[in-house]
Symmetry: C2
Subunit: 383 residues, 2 copies
Amino acid sequence: MSACEFESLEKCLESHLPEAELSEVKRILFGKETQKLDLPPCAVSAASERDFELKGFMFDAAQEQLRPPRRVRVGLIQNRIVLPTDAPILDQINAMHSRVGEMVEVAAMCGVNIVCFQETWTMPFAFCTREKEPWTEFAESAEEGNTTRFCQELAKKYNMVIVSPILEREGLHNTLWNTAVVISNSGRVLGKSRKNHIPRIGDFNESTYYMEGDTGHTVFQTQFGNIAVNICYGRHHPLNWFMYSMNGAEIIFNPSATVGALSEPMWSIEARNAAIAHHCFTCAINRVGTEHFKSEFTSGDGKKAHHDFGHFYGSSYVAAPDGSRSPGLSRTHDGLLVVEMDLNLNRQISDKWSFKMTGRYSEYAEELTKTVRPDFKPNIVKE
Amino acid sequence: MSACEFESLEKCLESHLPEAELSEVKRILFGKETQKLDLPPCAVSAASERDFELKGFMFDAAQEQLRPPRRVRVGLIQNRIVLPTDAPILDQINAMHSRVGEMVEVAAMCGVNIVCFQETWTMPFAFCTREKEPWTEFAESAEEGNTTRFCQELAKKYNMVIVSPILEREGLHNTLWNTAVVISNSGRVLGKSRKNHIPRIGDFNESTYYMEGDTGHTVFQTQFGNIAVNICYGRHHPLNWFMYSMNGAEIIFNPSATVGALSEPMWSIEARNAAIAHHCFTCAINRVGTEHFKSEFTSGDGKKAHHDFGHFYGSSYVAAPDGSRSPGLSRTHDGLLVVEMDLNLNRQISDKWSFKMTGRYSEYAEELTKTVRPDFKPNIVKE
């Protein structure tokens, strides 16, 4: 069985394990069982007609006396590229707009309040090629580009906050960035969050194209909760999640593009660890499918030149502060994951575990400040 | 099936999943398959006679041209208490010395270089009772206590570094600490590492007994590698792992005592996330069994008073920097996990993923310093 044929971990476990053991396995692996969310039949049939997976789950919180529940529905979209990578740029972008647009329409039927797309969602993940042309032509203004305008229309139409991760061109200085544009449900561009950590690994030659972000750890206060965006490789950096949390993030999105051979065993660990450690929800999104490029390229691994860099394994999921997580979308198909979460859970779990109060952050601030000095002497005891 | 009957996740998967799917499931859950380590027949039969589980695994690294392999064998010991909790204190301590001593002897047969015991290994985890007496009588001097002397003998006899987590009494001021004593294979006390973060959750009333550690993030340079100890609740704090790594830790031990209902779904996430994020090995150790106390106690959860606080689920394991992990020891039995690791893997994975170089620590030092000020203004964008 090849890695791009295996559809989903959860499905495999459910079809082979006896009931009693299955429930223990799921408890250990995924925590408290997430309830299924009833989705409207019109959404279910639209998803089926449009050939994408639709799944819904719910994270509940205890009823409090003084606060009403703060239930929010979040949508995660994962998808393949639509046209071949050598189709005209504008056709490729328009085809992605059209595909994602029809998925967002289904999200609206499901009552989604905040939707997030995958990393650089309007384009193939072409950084493996190290060619500047034609790929930099996919870059757009975060504030005024066609893709942002397209998202603003969707946002207004569906009263939905949209997180739109694109390749950004800042036109005045022609700098490129890997940027998530956050659009309010009013249709206004709330702001943007640039990728803080840029990989130099395997075919992820992104440092060839853009630099580390300069927008810090901005949190966006929306009508539906405080959200932040930790883009792709930033999920490997615990301090990045931490700092979004210190700025008040209740939901942190992690739009990504990553392939099986490189990162799959880490995928279920990192975003989930962040949800646990920071008493918040995290949403991990990965694209699916294999993207083929016309020019062959090498991967710095001594192997022959080739035209693709493996299978993007999807598996988008949501992790909760109580250590539980939703099942993932499939490893192989386009999908929309709808998750209802009661944000009251964040404070309830914080009051239970108290990581923020037991964190000793002042001491870490001092230690870290010493650590980064060129004359830092590590605290090593020798015999 | 109750939580204390379910023996092990890995065993369950192995006995029910078809071969092809099992290998995909294991790849996704556990990463690159860890090879089994051949252990000497005398050790296997001694473990069987002494009624504990013995498992061995190996993490290999690529052969380099300029550096020879740096292969180290680490032993993780998990065990039940031996005598009832109302037996005389000295009898309880002696029984634990004797039990762990016979397990260390088997570790020596397996060529273990560094062994780590579970948190406060000489005593029941009695902090649930909130009684000071008789439990504080288990506290000993880290430098000169009987337990340290016992470990020094073992260390010399077997040429083994020993990490011995105890309840420490600092006699001059009668302060108590939760402390790991690190004893060199020469028999010398190299130093100690006090628990940095103290829980206030459920039955873990440890803040009633001792305060946050004052030994910082010390790393111990031993003949077999640079080691550090992140005790129990410290594993929930990403900055704690991070700071041990910044001080040069190659292997971080996490001796713990934790129960199923509270933390089991987090168990496989946190130490493993740290190994990935910091390009090092982490060793998570949990005790096993259910401990009964004579006085009944309540748990602050509105339920009736009771005499135990649930099942310690064992499941000790080792996580590697490449995202893989060893299978765990059982959830139900005493056990010794022997893991051979080539420490060259740390640098190899660091050179591949480069988290330390892409970490932007100077910027985090500045941000964190601002964050901990009373006048900190979070970076929140509002509409």
